[in-house]
C-alpha cells in the first residue's frame, strides 16, 4: 500500500499535476479523489486505467467534437449521492424526484454520446447501463416533460382534490369581495387534500424506484471514471506525456521532466534539462555540485513513478515503472519540529520505519535526499555508507542524493550532475552580486546526469559556487 502524506504529494509535485486534471462532473472529481495509488494488488486495474487514457486520447485526435459534447453532458450531472442514499431508506421529496428524473434524462443523453465514441466498447469500467426502467417510475406517462409534475390522473384522490381546488380558483378569479373568504377556505381544504395525495404518490414512487437506485449509482461511478479518463487524456495530450510500461524491477526514466519546475523555469525564459536514469534493486547514488539540481532530479524520478502508480501518463520520453508496493520519501522534514524532534532525528526515524517496512515483503521505492546531512561530516558519511551497504541486497530500489565521499562505493549505480561544465567560458568567471550570481550559475551549470563508476569522487564546486554568489574572497581563500 503506497502512502504519501499531503505535504509529500505537494513537495514532489504530484498534487500540482493532479490538480491540473479538470474533470467536468462531480463524479469525475470523486473518482480522482478516491483513486489513490494502484499497488501490486491492483495491477490489472492500473493497466485498464492506462489503457482508457490511451483510447480516449485516440478519440481526442479523431473525434474531438464528440469528446467535447460528452464533456458538456458530463458537466450537467449533479452530485446526487445524498439523494441516492436517502432513497434507499425514505420517501424522496418532489425536488429529489425531479433531480433523479433529470439525472436519468441526462444519463440517456450521456449514454448516447458515449456510445458514439469509437473507443467506448473497449474502455474499462465506464459502461453506462440503460436507465429506462427507472425513468418509467419517475415519468410513467412518458410525458417527455423536462420538468417534474404528477398528473391529476395518477390517483383518484389527487384528481378529486385538484378538481375541487381548481373550481374554487376559477371562481376566485372573478368573485366579489364578500364571497372570497368562503372560497379561499374551500380552496385551502382542497389544497390540503392535494398535498396528502401527492405525498402518497411520492412515497409510492420512492418505493418503486428503490430497486433501481443501485444501477443509477453504478452509472454515476462509470460516468466518473469516463470523465476522469478524459481529463487525464487531455492532460497527457497537452504535455505530450507517454504511457509508462509497468512491471519489472528497474525504474527506467528516459528524458524525464518535472512539469512544475519546468513551468517555473519557463517563466524565467529557461528550459528544464530532462533527466535520464535507471534505478535498479540496490542503491543508486546521485552526487553533484550544490545547486546542480540533485533534489530536482530526485523529485522528477519520484513524481513520474508516483504518477504512473496513480494511473496517469508520465512526463518522459519513455519510462518503465515497477509495481512498487511502497514509496518511502526520506528527507529533512521541517514538520518534525512541531513533534519536538530535530530534523536529523525525524529523518533517521523515517529511515528506520522504511527499513522496517521492508520486512512486510514487496518492493519498495526509497528516495533519500542528502541522508544525514544534519550531523557532522564524518559520522554522516558513515551513516550514508552503512545505509547503502545495508540496502544493497534488500528488495528495494533506492535513490540517494549525497555529498558524502565514499557513500557510492557500495552502490549499484552512480550518477553525477555534470555541474559547472563550462569552466572554460569567460562568461561565468568573476563574481557578481546576489541575483546576478544566481543567473551566472544557471548559465554555467549543466544539469544533465552522467553515469560514472560507483565511488567516483564527488566534484568540488562549492567554493566556485560561493565565489559566483559573491561571498568575500577573504573567506574563500
Amino acid at each position: 500500500m503506497i502512502r504519501l502524506s499531503y505535504e509529500q504529494k505537494e513537495d514532489i509535485g504530484l498534487k500540482y499535476v493532479r490538480d491540473m486534471l479538470d474533470p467536468a462532473s462531480p463524479y469525475g472529481v470523486k473518482f480522482l479523489k478516491a483513486e489513490g495509488f494502484y499497488g501490486q494488488a491492483r495491477q490489472q486495474a492500473l493497466e485498464e486505467e492506462l489503457n482508457n487514457i490511451a483510447l480516449l486520447w485516440q478519440d481526442l485526435e479523431t473525434q474531438e467534437a464528440a469528446v467535447a459534447d460528452l464533456q458538456h453532458a458530463l458537466s450537467e450531472l449533479k452530485d446526487l449521492s445524498g439523494t441516492f442514499a436517502n432513497g434507499m431508506t425514505q420517501a424522496l421529496t418532489e425536488v429529489e424526484l425531479f433531480e433523479l428524473s433529470a439525472y436519468c434524462r441526462r444519463m440517456q443523453e450521456l449514454r448516447r454520446l458515449a456510445e458514439a465514441l469509437p473507443s467506448y466498447p473497449r474502455l474499462a469500467g465506464t459502461r453506462l447501463e440503460p436507465v429506462e426502467d427507472a425513468l418509467r417510475v419517475l415519468d410513467p406517462a412518458d410525458s417527455g416533460l423536462a420538468g417534474f409534475y404528477i398528473e391529476d390522473a395518477r390517483t383518484p384522490e389527487l384528481g378529486e382534490a385538484r378538481a375541487a381546488k381548481r373550481a374554487a380558483e376559477l371562481q376566485l378569479r372573478t368573485a366579489p369581495e364578500e364571497g372570497r373568504e368562503a372560497l379561499l377556505k374551500q380552496r385551502q381544504e382542497a389544497a390540503r387534500r392535494e398535498e396528502d395525495a401527492l405525498q402518497a404518490v411520492y412515497a409510492q414512487m420512492s418505493a418503486d424506484l428503490r430497486p433501481h437506485l443501485p444501477l443509477l449509482q453504478r452509472n454515476a461511478a462509470a460516468a466518473g471514471r469516463l470523465d476522469a479518463g478524459i481529463a487525464k487524456a487531455l492532460l497527457a495530450r497537452r504535455f505530450g506525456c507517454v504511457r509508462p510500461e509497468m512491471g519489472g524491477e528497474d525504474l527506467v526514466l528516459e528524458e524525464a521532466v518535472h512539469p512544475q519546475v519546468a513551468a517555473a523555469l519557463s517563466e524565467r525564459g529557461r528550459a528544464f534539462t530532462p533527466i535520464t536514469m535507471t534505478l535498479s534493486l540496490g542503491v543508486t547514488v546521485l552526487t553533484g555540485a550544490n545547486m546542480g539540481g540533485k533534489s530536482i532530479a530526485l523529485k522528477t524520478a519520484l513524481l513520474n513513478a508516483a504518477l504512473a502508480l496513480s494511473g496517469c501518463f508520465v512526463f518522459v520520453r519513455s519510462a518503465r515503472v515497477p509495481f512498487f508496493d511502497r514509496i518511502e520519501v526520506i528527507n529533512r522534514d521541517f514538520s518534525n519540529a512541531s513533534q519536538g524532534l530535530s530534523s536529523f532525528g525525524g529523518e533517521i526515524l523515517r529511515l528506520k520505519e522504511a527499513l522496517e517496512d521492508l520486512r512486510e515483503g514487496g518492493l519498495s521505492l526509497i528516495v533519500m535526499d542528502e541522508l544525514a546531512r544534519g550531523t557532522n561530516a564524518r559520522e554522516g558519511a558513515q551513516i550514508a555508507r552503512g545505509t547503502v551497504n545495508y540496502l544493497a541486497d534488500k528488495n528495494a530500489v533506492t535513490l540517494l542524493a549525497t555529498h558524502y565521499d565514499g557513500a557510492a562505493e557500495g552502490a549499484v549505480r552512480h550518477y553525477q550532475v555534470k555541474g559547472l561544465a563550462r569552466r572554460e567560458d569567460a562568461s561565468w568567471t568573476g563574481t557578481a552580486e546576489g541575483r546576478d550570481g544566481l543567473r551566472l550559475i544557471e548559465n554555467a551549470m549543466d544539469y544533465g546526469l552522467i553515469e560514472v563508476k560507483p565511488g567516483t569522487e564527488c566534484p568540488r564546486d562549492a567554493v566556485a559556487i560561493c565565489r559566483l554568489l559573491g561571498l568575500p574572497e577573504e573567506i574563500l581563500s
Binding site: 449533479k78 425536488v95 423536462a146 409534475y149 381546488k165 380558483e169 378569479r173 380552496r187 389544497a191
Partner: protein
C-alpha cells in the same frame, strides 16, 4: 390606472416598500392579477435575498401572501416549497443556494399561494434571470426591498414600484416627504463615469482623467461642471462636509453607483440640491409608480383621498391606492 400599463415593456419590475405593511405585497398581487387577466402567463416571480423574513415563515403560521396565476413561473428556496400551495411542475434546480436551500424554479399548474425567497447576491440573481430566460419567461417580478436596492440595481434592468403607507409614520406629511425623497433617489438619472475611478472619491474635470480626493474640504476650488465620483456609499458626514464649503463649488455633479449608495438625510440632500449640486447614478432604475396604503398596522389611518392627493403632488410619477 393599472400597474400593468405603468410597467409595460419592462423586462423586470422590482417591488419596493418604504416600511412593513406599506402594501408592497398587495401591489405585487395586483400586478400579478393584472398580468394574468391580460393573458401574460409567462411572468416569473422571485424575491431578492429575504432569507431572514422567510425563515420566520418556516416556523410561523403566516399565510403565504403572494397569489400567483396558473402558467407563471416562480423561483424560491427549496425549504419554502412546502409553504406553497400552488400545484407546481418543478423545472429546474438552479444550483444557486440560499440559507433556506437551493433555489428551485417551477411552473404553476394552478393558481395559488407562493412564498418567495430568491438569490441574495447579484451574480446569482443574474444567473436566475438567465434561467428564467431559458424557459421563455418574462417579465420578472421581484419582491425587493429598499435595503437591498443595491442588489437590485446590479441584477435587474427594469422598473420599480414603490409602496408607502400610514405604517411609516403617524404624521402624513412626513410620510409624504420621506416617500417623495426616496422617489427622487429612485428616479436619479443615469450617467457613465467620466473616467476610471482613482480611489474612494475621484474628481473629474472636463476630460476622463480624474484625481483622487483625500479630503472633501480640499475640493473647494473645484470648477463648476466638475463630477465627483464616489466608489462606495456617500455618507451623511461627507454630505455635510461638502455642504460647509459650498459657496465655492456650485454646479458639482455627485455620481454614485446606484441610488442606495446615496446615504444622505433628506434635509442634507435638499440643501445640496438647493445650492446647485446635481445627483446621478451609474446604474439606476426607473420608478414606474408609487402606491399608497392609508391604513397602518399600528391601528391609525389617514384620510385616503387626502393622502393620495398629497402624495401625487409630491412626486412626478403616477400614484395609486393599492386598496382600490
Amino acid at each position: 390606472m393599472r400597474l400593468l400599463d405603468l410597467t409595460a415593456g419592462e423586462p423586470a419590475v422590482a417591488m419596493l416598500g418604504m416600511c412593513k405593511n406599506a402594501g408592497k405585497t398587495t401591489a405585487m398581487n395586483r400586478l400579478i392579477r393584472e398580468l394574468g387577466e391580460a393573458g401574460v402567463e409567462k411572468a416569473a416571480l422571485t424575491s431578492i435575498g429575504r432569507d431572514g423574513e422567510a425563515r420566520d415563515l418556516v416556523t410561523g403560521t403566516d399565510k403565504p401572501p403572494i397569489y400567483m396565476r396558473e402558467g407563471m413561473l416562480a423561483a424560491t428556496a427549496e425549504q419554502l416549497l412546502s409553504l406553497c400551495d400552488v400545484s407546481r411542475e418543478i423545472l429546474s434546480a438552479t444550483g444557486l443556494y440560499t440559507s433556506l436551500g437551493e433555489v428551485i424554479v417551477f411552473r404553476a399548474r394552478s393558481d395559488g399561494f407562493v412564498q418567495l425567497a430568491g438569490p441574495g447576491i447579484v451574480d446569482h440573481m443574474i444567473r436566475l434571470r438567465r434561467e428564467f430566460d431559458r424557459f421563455g419567461a418574462g417579465p420578472v417580478l421581484i419582491d425587493g426591498a429598499l435595503s437591498r436596492l443595491s442588489l437590485l440595481a446590479g441584477a435587474s434592468d427594469g422598473a420599480c414600484v414603490l409602496s408607502t403607507g400610514a405604517s411609516l409614520d403617524r404624521d402624513m406629511d412626513r410620510v409624504v416627504a420621506e416617500t417623495a425623497y426616496v422617489a427622487v433617489l429612485l428616479g436619479l438619472p443615469e450617467m457613465p463615469a467620466p473616467g476610471p475611478s482613482q480611489g474612494k472619491l475621484t474628481l473629474f474635470g472636463e476630460g476622463p482623467e480624474g484625481r483622487t480626493v483625500k479630503d472633501l474640504n480640499r475640493i473647494d476650488r473645484a470648477q463648476p461642471e466638475e463630477t465627483l465620483l464616489s466608489e462606495g456609499a456617500f455618507t451623511e458626514t461627507q454630505g455635510r462636509t461638502l455642504l460647509k464649503g459650498y459657496t465655492k463649488k456650485p454646479g458639482l455633479t455627485l455620481l454614485v453607483r446606484d441610488p442606495s449608495c446615496l446615504m444622505l438625510k433628506r434635509e442634507t440632500y435638499a440643501a445640496l440640491a438647493a445650492r446647485g449640486t446635481r445627483f446621478a447614478v451609474l446604474k439606476g432604475t426607473r420608478l414606474a409608480a408609487v402606491t399608497v396604503n392609508s391604513v397602518s398596522a399600528g391601528g391609525w389611518r389617514f384620510d385616503g383621498e387626502e393622502f393620495l392627493e398629497k402624495m401625487q403632488a409630491a412626486v412626478t410619477v403616477p400614484v395609486l391606492d393599492v386598496r382600490k
